[in-house]
Symmetry: C2
Subunit: 720 residues, 2 copies
């Protein structure tokens, strides 16, 4: 049994042992010891080292066994070969959480992996948990705990990271943007505590307002746990994920870094989006989104006002916001009249508002214009872009400069007060946002998201719209599910014949069109009599997977004679190909409709997943597939359908009637339940499913199962 680690143990330990603390400031142990004792309000710290009796005025201890009191947390920074003894001491003392910074474990190979597994097991046996090994350490603002070795600015963002260097990059951004961290937890090799567990700790941490994750892959089942944790806590904490390993080169780099496979990136993309997790493409974007989401307000709608010092900035902000689904609000007549009264004739008052020099000569007009827009019920959010906060820097005359600076500070105070009193979102772009100007302090203090990048501000507004529930999903990428099915087939796995697969899913309540199997021409004639012609006839064999590639499918079989002839032709194909186990499946032709695909698979990180998209030969070309964690209900299935491009065809296209979306959604939901509930299933592929106004009709089924799973003789084909 694993012991659950909570906020109190990991982020607010009362006393901490630091094993391998050192006075050498350029070493890992020395840097971290220094950052630990420098952190204001730090817990009781006990350096464990064999060199000297004291360290920076702290009494040192030769081993954990000599400590004067039990500690809540121990950090181990000794060389790899000494880690085992230190961990054994922790286990004996019942230390609840042990952070191993030392490297030289799974990242070195199988032997190291066995070593770290043993460390984790040793601790768990006495109720302890392990963070690491190869963890860069941890930081907790509320706990006064800094075991990272660098200074961390305080703030609302909780970070879980698989890389210490990436945490340093985020720290640089935090400093520049005058934000910071509630906590930083470096996952390391995750021999015990997993990414999802650390995210859970941050979600429960009161000081953390948004969770930022950098990762390179998910451990077995941990992606699924992450999704479930975030989903259950969706209303409470926003989560932003930056995940490497998207491209082939990236996946190779990830593999060489952590030894883990990056996983199918498009699947990750969809499943994270499905759980309401925002995924960022780049490092600074990830930080900016976490910063925006840590702010107290969201965007309740899609309509924004853009206010700027000039058309170029406005165009770039509107452009980026538009690419992420936002629109420019139509101002009410009253707003237009008030803006016209406020601003000189040269200013543009239609949205986007263009101050055209009016703001730099009178910064107060920015506050007034924002107040006017806040009053407009058509405006759900405002992005201010340009030079606000730095207008005073445009002159080199000291008197003018200090007068304008005062006007800007006054305006910032008015803006902060107005924004605080309104439900409307305000996001600020200022060219001067990262210069630490006092004129912008009131905006920082009012927790108004502020960025030096035009697109950062626009993207923040869009992310807050998503968070606000207004956007119907971050654009989800997709992949070729059919290829997946082929490639993902592990050794020993078994593909059911089509009759077996049809029989199996039919018993599970999934509607399957009538079909028969035949082992002789006579049986084919008999089957023809019981089915509504014209028929499709297919060669059935466990060894001939791509029926259509070898002439193993005959369509539009009308008469009984034609059925006999078709049977013979299929058998001669089988003989030519040396297929010994051939039989024939007969089923009524399904009238032409829109070819879709419904898939199911069991992913190592994410567990059972269901997919829907364009089917037939378009699968690989369109890559028009949406994934969800299975099971889904029919409402969620509808959302999946709406997330594809083939949805446009399904809604009725050039005079065709709309397809039966209810039947299609029900089928997706049924397949998702089957995938979630069937043990031993590896992959299921209904492709094509022919969809038209009469329903969703399955035309072909492939199912791959683990060896020994789903054995059933029902529907098996007689050998010829």
């Amino acid at each position: 049994m694993q012991t659950r680690v909570g906020v109190s143990q990991l982020l607010r330990p009362r006393s901490v042992a630091i094993v391998g603390a050192s006075a050498a400031p350029h070493k890992a142990g020395g840097r971290r010891w220094l950052s630990a004792i420098s952190e204001p309000g730090h817990p009781r710290l006990f350096p464990v080292t064999r060199s000297g009796d004291s360290l920076n005025g702290y009494r040192t201890y030769r081993s954990l066994a000599h400590l004067p009191e039990p500690v809540d947390l121990a950090v181990i920074m000794v060389p790899a070969d000494a880690v085992q003894d230190a961990v054994a001491d922790c286990a004996r003392l019942g230390v609840p959480v042990v952070v191993v910074v030392s490297a030289g474990f799974a990242e070195r190979g199988a032997e190291g992996a066995a070593l770290e597994a043993a460390l984790a097991a040793r601790l768990r046996a006495t109720g302890g948990r392990l963070l690491g090994p190869n963890s860069a350490g941890l930081y907790s603002a509320a706990g006064g705990l800094n075991l990272l070795g660098w200074r961390v600015p305080k703030g609302p963002i909780g970070l879980v990271t698989q890389s210490g260097n990436v945490a340093l990059t985020f720290t640089r951004h935090a400093r520049a943007k005058r934000s910071g961290f509630s906590a930083i937890l470096a996952l390391g090799n995750a021999a015990d505590l997993t990414l999802s567990e650390l995210v859970e700790v941050l979600i429960e941490d009161a000081a953390t307002r948004s969770v930022l994750v950098y990762c390179e892959g998910f451990a077995q089942g941990d992606g699924r746990r992450l999704i479930e944790i975030v989903r259950n806590a969706r209303e409470k904490k926003p989560v932003v994920v930056l995940k490497a390993g998207v491209s082939e080169a990236g996946a190779r780099a990830v593999q060489s870094h952590t030894g883990s496979l990056a996983g199918d990136d498009r699947l990750v993309d969809d499943l994270l989006a499905g759980a309401g997790i925002l995924r960022a493409a780049e490092t600074e974007q990830a930080f900016d989104l976490a910063l925006a989401l840590a702010a107290p307000k969201v965007l309740l709608g899609r309509d924004i006002a853009v206010l700027s010092d000039g058309g170029g900035h406005a165009a770039l902000v509107a452009d980026c916001a538009g690419r992420h689904g936002l629109t420019l609000a139509r101002f009410s007549p009253e707003t237009l009249a008030r803006l016209r009264a406020l601003l000189p004739a040269r200013s543009g008052v239609e949205n986007p508002v263009d101050f055209a020099g009016a703001a730099e000569s009178d910064p107060g007009s920015v506050a007034a214009a924002i107040t006017i827009c806040l009053d407009d019920p058509n405006v759900r959010g405002i992005v201010l872009a340009g030079h606000f906060g730095g207008y005073h820097l445009m002159t080199e005359d000291e008197t003018t400069r200090s007068r304008v600076a005062q006007q800007e500070t006054d305006a910032a105070l008015r803006i902060a007060a107005a924004a605080r009193d309104s439900a409307t979102l305000l996001v600020v772009h200022s060219e001067h946002a990262e210069r630490g100007l006092a004129t912008l302090t009131p905006l920082h203090e009012a927790e108004i998201p502020m960025f030096a990048g035009l697109e950062s501000a626009a993207r923040a507004a869009a992310a807050l719209a998503l968070r606000g529930g207004a956007l119907e999903g971050w654009k989800a990428a997709a992949f070729a599910a059919a290829g997946e099915l082929e490639a993902g087939r592990p050794g020993g796995a078994r593909q059911l014949t089509e009759p077996e697969a049809r029989e199996r899913i039919s018993r599970a309540g999934i509607p399957v069109p009538p079909f028969r199997t035949a082992g002789s021409a006579e049986e084919a004639r008999a089957a023809h009599a019981t089915l509504a012609a014209p028929l499709a006839m297919k060669l059935v064999s466990a060894t001939a997977l791509h029926k259509s590639d070898i002439g193993g499918v005959i369509l539009d079989v009308g008469s009984a004679e034609a059925a006999e002839a078709a049977f013979r032709r299929l058998m001669s194909v089988a003989r030519e190909r040396g297929i010994a186990d051939a039989g024939v499946l007969l089923t009524p032709m399904i009238p032409a409709g829109i070819e879709c695909l419904i898939g199911g698979a069991v992913d190592a990180s994410f567990g059972p997943v269901v997919s829907f998209g364009a089917g037939g030969i378009w699968v690989e070309l369109l890559a028009d597939v949406v994934f969800r964690a299975a099971p889904v209900d029919e409402t969620e299935a509808r959302r999946m359908i709406a997330g594809t491009r083939v949805f446009r065809l399904l809604q009725g296209y050039r005079g065709r009637p709309p397809a039966d979306l209810a039947a299609l959604a029900a089928l997706i939901a049924a397949v998702s339940r089957f995938v979630a509930e069937t043990s031993g299933l590896i992959a299921l592929d209904l492709n094509p499913v022919i969809v038209d106004e009469t329903g969703a009709h399955l035309a072909d089924v492939r199912m791959i199962v683990e060896p020994g799973a789903l054995r059933s003789n029902a529907g098996a084909v007689r050998r010829t």
Copy 2:
């Protein structure tokens, strides 16, 4: 006739009149006067103003007529109503270039547009040219000319901008990245000098090493001129374009800013890419690409080595590089052996190289590792990522700090020397790149592209690979050409009937399958006798455009009787719909194949364009279309085909033979010539073109022409 403006007049005027110069530093005229006199090596400056006899020690002049010598350039910053007189003075004096900073023209409406057109005409009449009005001014490093009103850092980038504020944003990035500008030209309303003309000036300017463009749209025909200018100069100067107006909100903002339509963005995307122009999505990316492209080296290949202080940075760099088409090089055995000998056991020596702490304790090892990788013929480029340059900041001990700083400086000098002696590209990411550290100065001086953003460094390498000719084209987006055809139809334009269109393109040498037209059942029977059945029969009418929507197409017509019956059915459809001008076209059925589309159109900014992509009902769903400026030759047509997703089907798919790509390319090239050479053409749409192993067979043609164009009675349909 327009006079061509050259580098000497615009960027290196010997004497400049500044009309509206002022002592008020917070006003447009005051700021620009100050920046002009503060610029080192400025030309002779003549302030023209009515207040006072001197300004900052310069003698002032009451009007242009009073100047003591002819000037090469005049800048006008007086209020809008005084501009006309000043421009008239310039025309009288024959000033070659006049920059009008004053606003209040086309951006205010039709009256302003007429005013500025008159200004331009006035100047052109005496051989002068106009930049602006509503231009933010201009800057030329070589000319010592700063009429922008802010300080500009010198450097290799030439900027053409439609917005002064965006130029300010770029200036901020230039300062942070220790780069700068050779010239900044603010386009303003472009009443005379156009964007393409300014780009041409910069391409010809020896001090400009890369050209950066911010624009919101292209004037009539100017997109085409830009493409031609850049294409002809492709080997000489790289061009990066940031264009707003991509999203609907962005397009609205652009329209309100410059009054111009943003144009079809996907077409712009493809045509710029086709001319070798890099298009950036965001502001900082645009600057970073221009900075990278200004460096002396390119990436000749796709295989890079990534060297980093830790796996996280390496993974993110490799990931982004991989997304842009780069791959991780496989190190030679010698490289691996040398790296193993150089670095401690804990370091990773497979690509990506992970110093894992070795570099911070011995910065010289970074130089050594780079030298080793430079020697590897498998490595075409190197991206160094991490903390190089700032290792010394990791300690607070002053002695250690200055020792490590010296080691870093030495390493930087070695890196710079090694990179200088090698054809291999080096790009550096450093967390400290924007801190102005002396340790990094040798890299700056060696013109090694250096970035604080991980993805910036990766993207720079990818851009330099594109520039190096190795990448086969920046991913081009596409759009629904069919919808375009409908929407783009101006008033008075005329859609030819299908027989007219077939006849017209056939006469131009485009292969058209045999067809006949019939005005009676008897004619239908006669036509049937001359064509190879089965036939397709289509209603022909100038008023019924969507034949398939109204039951106006009958397929698989076998016998002569069936042809008569089909004729009668089509006529009854025509009667039901009140179509008075109906006739029928008969043509042999084309066997099933891959449905493609070839389109042609004449774009306002870009002139004749040709498109190719997936056809049939997939046009709007797949949005799988590639555009090129017409005409294209067959080699370029092949590249267009290869740029689509339908290309995968055309290459042979699941046992189908490969399609006849030579025939398809020839057809695309023929259509492109027709589009380029046919005056009065608005749009041409061959959709579908059925492509299989026997050739590319046109199945439907639509052509829209200007009123009066292409009148021809051949192939016209008799009225029933």
